[in-house]
Symmetry: C2
Subunit: 134 residues, 2 copies
């Protein structure tokens, strides 16, 4: 038997922790979103990725609208207990722009103040967002 | 020639963005830390991963103390411009606890309020933190 220990997740001042989402098959980092205690509980209990939208101020289940669901294979907790990693089987694409990963732009150069970058699109668009989100 | 476009990075209210760090060789997600404009500029300009410590309130170069440096192969920007992905060649381990990844604990179960989890350690300890950080 593996030994278990108990961790209190360090939800921040806003009651949320960031969760990195990674593809279980090829290891691609798909997105980063935020998670409330209720979103985490539902994720662990159902095996379907849930997050908390800071802009809409509501719990959401990934793919409930778009069909681009995430079946959760593993949930990891980092050393400080203040970041999560969801390892998922991704249906379709994770990004609302139709790309497989939200991280589909690579930095080519940066300006002197460090706030503006030139980027090249490198990822793969796998669905048409206009057809999915109306 | 690839077409370039310009992105203003959306540094948050605290002037920082989260950066996910991934191993270039095997795709393992190693850590999440925060980045200031200056940390990002130094990362892009030098090819060595820089972050900004919220607890120590200072810029830091990964591995400057521990020797566990990160050579940056690629910097990605997400769709909203508010999260970065550093793809790196990691020397030694990324985690201050001596593990290769900070995400070395897997959630086995969760309590009803979603704030406490039982975890199993699954990662690989690759150095002795007591010997590295004195």
């Amino acid at each position: 038997m593996a030994e278990l220990s108990t961790v209190d997740i360090d939800f921040g001042d806003d009651g949320l922790v960031p969760a990195v989402t990674q593809d279980a098959d090829d290891g691609e980092v798909l997105m980063l979103a935020y998670v409330s205690p209720e979103a985490l509980r539902r994720t662990v209990d159902t095996g379907r990725a849930h997050y908390y939208s800071r802009s809409r101020d509501e719990l959401w289940e990934k793919g409930a609208t778009s069909g681009n669901t995430q079946s959760v294979v593993d949930v990891r907790v980092d050393c400080d207990g203040d970041t999560l990693l969801y390892v998922v089987e991704q249906a379709g694409g994770a990004c609302h722009t139709g790309y497989r990963s939200c991280f589909h732009r690579s930095v080519a150069s940066i300006d002197d103040d460090g706030e503006t970058v030139d980027v090249e699109t490198v990822g793969e668009q796998v669905f048409d967002p206009d057809a999915v989100y109306e």
